[in-house]
């Protein structure tokens, strides 16, 4: 499996405050990697740096082999993202938003691709609806459709199912798992839903205080650390990271 993301010794400081402290990891094609950790652990900071909207203090990021710092546009052509805190402009329709972002990502045969995604994400009935009038679940689906537009090598998902009902969340998870399995892309996924993470992620990274504390298979990792479940392990990371660091 080839690497779609390589993060080496990534650091981000704001003055004396260290938000991300020497993080290194990779995501390979066909792989879904969960980036987990309590609020303020550095997950969104890490994702922002990979998206090129936040400059690292040090370290390097390569997306599909392209260095982000040296070739920003070329590297970002291989990626896309969906995040609960980044809804698409509410004053444009679903189709207009997809067309604009399709052009920004240089998608070939854009009209055809938009039709595929409208169908795939069950958005055909909303194509002429302004995104601002959609329910939060529908907006999430539009964001995910946007994230899939360019068939990214690296798909970044920051709590993609946070505002979906369980039935819709299952469908979306299936689509993302399918994307990772059938395309050459990989997925970096953050979520606070440990059930979901255990179901979809091949590997997880536990982040605490800006550092990777644990890494491994979400199914076996809890047992390896004497915990009954991934949720229990998450709580332990959030409450007593130092104890786990010594393990």
């Amino acid at each position: 499996m080839s690497q779609v993301l390589s993060v080496i010794d990534l650091c981000k400081s704001y003055g004396a405050t260290v938000a991300v402290d020497g993080v290194s990891f990779e995501v390979r094609s066909n792989e879904i990697v969960g980036l987990l950790g309590p609020n303020g652990a550095g997950k969104t900071t890490t994702i922002s740096m990979i998206l090129g909207v936040l400059q690292p203090t040090s370290g390097s990021i390569r997306i599909a082999g392209v260095d982000l710092a040296a070739q920003r546009s070329a590297a970002l052509e291989y990626t896309n993202f969906a995040a609960v805190y980044a809804p698409l402009p509410g004053n444009l329709t679903v189709q207009q938003n997809l067309r604009i972002f399709g052009l920004l990502y240089g998608v070939k045969h854009l009209s055809q691709r938009i039709e595929e995604l409208l169908q795939q994400f069950n958005l055909e009935g909303f194509r002429h609806a302004k995104c601002g009038v959609l329910s939060s679940g529908e907006q999430t689906r539009v964001c995910l459709a946007k994230a899939m537009l360019n068939r990214p090598q690296l798909l970044l998902l920051d709590e993609p199912t946070a505002s979906l009902d369980p039935a819709k969340a299952v469908d979306i998870r299936r689509l993302i798992v399918d994307f990772a399995a059938r395309s050459t892309g990989g997925v970096l996924w953050t979520s606070h839903n440990m059930y979901e993470v255990q179901e979809v992620c091949h590997r997880v990274l536990f982040l605490s205080r800006g550092r990777i504390l644990l890494e491994g298979d979400p199914k076996s990792l809890p047992r390896e650390h004497g915990m009954a479940s991934l949720e229990e392990l998450f709580i332990a990371v959030a409450r007593e990271p130092l104890a786990l660091e010594r393990m």
Partner: protein
């Protein structure tokens, strides 16, 4: 630069305009009101002033040129504000879109929107108030060009200020044309101004346009060098503010302001 990405920025503006009378109306409504107001003022002054002097090209022509520059500036800033109002920075700046492409898209959007205002102003000024553009002759082209460059430069500067200081700084941007107009000598010769104001006026490309316009109307000999100097200043300012916008963007990426723009400060 990738044309498809510039097209995306322009297309977004087209979609917004197409679906919104609240955006279409201001493209021509305010400039039309200005034309009507200053058209009647000019006609009235013609009726009370000594015969033989025509205020229409002097006042109405000046308002038309000034309003054109303001529309060009607002064309850039309004297109930029659409991203501010919809909190869209994270989405667009996480794409391969580069800053030169983004700014080019804003400028092309402004050319389209300011052209609408210009056409409406020309129609009203000529058809209703009898303004003849023949009086300016071929000089109209350099006059409009210098004001266009200055309008673009001011628009990019305004966008950089809002990007740096946050959404509330929008209110610094709207009064910029009103702040500059006394120095630009839109309605009076620069010799009317006190020395310190004349010094500032000489730094404004627009002042060379309006001095030139008055010289043309008065059929005085127009030296090309002041207007060329004004054009050079406009180009210089355009390059300078483009550099400033790039710096502000890099600052926003370094501090994380792009990712949390509504917080207005990265500190």
């Amino acid at each position: 630069m990738a044309l498809h990405r510039i097209a995306a920025v322009v297309l977004r503006q087209f979609y917004l305009l197409r679906g919104s009378p609240a955006r279409i109306l201001p493209l021509f409504a305010w400039v039309a009101i200005d034309m009507v107001l200053w058209g009647f003022i000019s006609k009235y002054l013609n009726s009370v002033a000594s015969a033989g002097f025509n205020f229409v090209p002097m006042l109405l022509g000046a308002v038309l040129l000034w309003d054109f520059m303001v529309r060009v500036m607002q064309g850039v800033t309004l297109a930029f504000f659409e991203d501010v109002w919809t909190r869209n920075f994270l989405n667009i700046f996480a794409t391969p879109l580069s800053i030169p492409e983004y700014v080019s898209g804003l400028v092309i959007s402004s050319i389209a929107t300011s052209s609408v205002g210009l056409v409406v102003m020309i129609l009203l000024a000529t058809l209703v108030f009898g303004l003849s553009f023949f009086i300016y002759g071929a000089m109209l082209v350099p006059f409009l060009s210098v004001l266009f460059l200055l309008g673009i430069a001011l628009g990019i500067l305004g966008s950089a200020i809002v990007l740096r200081l946050g959404p509330a700084a929008e209110w610094f941007i709207w009064p910029i044309p009103a702040l500059l107009s006394p120095f630009a000598g839109v309605f009076y010769p620069l010799s009317t101004l006190p020395h310190w104001m004349r010094f500032i006026a000489r730094l404004l490309p627009a002042s060379y346009v309006f001095e030139g316009m008055r010289a043309v109307i008065a059929r005085r000999e127009l030296s090309a060098s002041p207007l060329l100097f004004g054009a050079g200043l406009a180009v210089l300012y355009l390059l300078l503010v483009s550099w400033v916008f790039g710096r502000v963007f890099r600052h926003a990426v370094r501090t994380g302001l792009i990712a949390r723009y509504t917080a207005e400060t990265a500190g």
